[in-house]
Symmetry: C2
Subunit: 239 residues, 2 copies
């Protein structure tokens, strides 16, 4: 047992101060680097055209949300240069001779006005405040317009919110929108509770509507079983 | 003497593994944060209109370097929205009814074409490859157009390049362009070598051209002397 010079408690394992201080110096170095990155982000960030502290200037495009209820939707002014820089889809849409280029209006279908506002804000600022519904809507927009950074951000958020209740919904959503991390996380949660899974009403619905997805779940479950069995027999042999 | 579990050498001071590992975990956490910042910077960064891999699209302004030899200067296309976001001076210039707004041309005086290119690149990408001459030219532009982030970056670079040979030149430059960190660093280097300083030809030139700056150096030198003396007498008393 040794006296820890850092936390002042008696401990078994020990390391020398030099190594400990080196680690501390690394932490300081990294913190300085983070401050530099933050300053650069603040420099590169744009004012959103929806930020009322700054009148949007030199916008050359308007976006319209078309979610059916879009009668009330207000056109959102934007800069082609920003959209083209952030999204290969907008780039193709606006640089080729398409209707959007001529009209200077881009209709965003299947998106609520709020989601479109959050999407545009993100294109300018790289920032968004998420809750689950918004994360799903934004992930769809990010996938549609190939804004990888936003899609990854939403997916990470949804993985952090994953639980038994939303696991099936999340699995289906991840499958539909090719969100691999969310899919993997949801699958492992479901296949760890197969007997409960099959008792859920959503299970029956899924068998009805998307049997292929149910099959995939069973396939993953099966391979888990096989691996576990193989492991077991290996262990029993090694004893 | 203890055996360091980290570097495997016998040492005196010791810390417990737990504290050491905590430090290690902090390092990992910070490294992940840095990766996230880097991804965000990559997302927010623009293609420079001078980047030949991407045709500049929707530019609504041209910049012209006017360094006297600017007969050869090529107009640089740019986006008002970018310049206005990065520089309060461009914002005022382009949003008020000034000649630049009408003409869509901004003449940048006292700037070489290369410096202007680097300046514009920085406005879009937040990146620049510096050497001393360029750092000085860019610091001047950054000061003139109030691009704080670039000015700080150039100043930091110049401080890192400070030495006895360029100390006087750096001091004068820092004074002229209100670069406080560089000024402080140059002053302390000079006032630590006053006798050598007064023997330099640049000293005579400075007395000729900018006596006020020489006075400031002597004032700083004097206050150093006074403090040192005070310290000494304090120490002698305390013995």
């Amino acid at each position: 047992m040794m006296y820890c010079q850092s936390c002042r408690v008696y401990r078994s394992g020990v390391v020398c101060n030099d190594c400990y201080e080196k680690a501390g110096e690394t932490v300081e170095k990294l913190k300085r680097e983070i401050e530099e990155h933050k300053a650069k982000i603040a420099f590169l960030r744009f004012w959103s055209p929806l930020d009322h502290r700054h009148q949007p200037s030199y916008t050359d495009l308007v976006l319209l949300a078309e979610d059916g209820a879009s009668g009330s939707a207000v056109p959102i002014p934007a800069h082609k240069a920003v959209l083209v820089n952030r999204s290969p889809v907008f780039k193709a849409m606006l640089e080729n001779e398409m209707e959007e280029k001529r009209s200077g209006t881009v209709k965003i279908s299947d998106a609520s006005y709020d989601a479109l506002c959050a999407f545009i804000n993100y294109m300018y600022t790289g920032e968004v405040c998420l809750e689950e519904k918004m994360a799903c809507e934004l992930l769809e927009l990010a996938e549609k317009y190939e804004v990888k950074h936003l899609k990854a951000y939403c997916e990470k958020f949804l993985v952090s919110k994953l639980n038994w209740d939303n696991s099936i919904m999340s699995y289906v959503f991840a499958y539909q929108h090719n969100a691999k991390h969310l899919l993997r996380a949801a699958l492992s949660l479901i296949t760890d509770n197969m007997s409960n899974f099959t008792r859920r009403d959503e299970y029956m619905e899924l068998v009805e509507k998307e049997p292929r997805l149910v099959v995939e779940i069973y396939e993953v479950y099966l391979s888990k079983q096989v691996n576990a069995a193989a492991q077991e027999s290996f262990l029993s042999m090694s004893h």
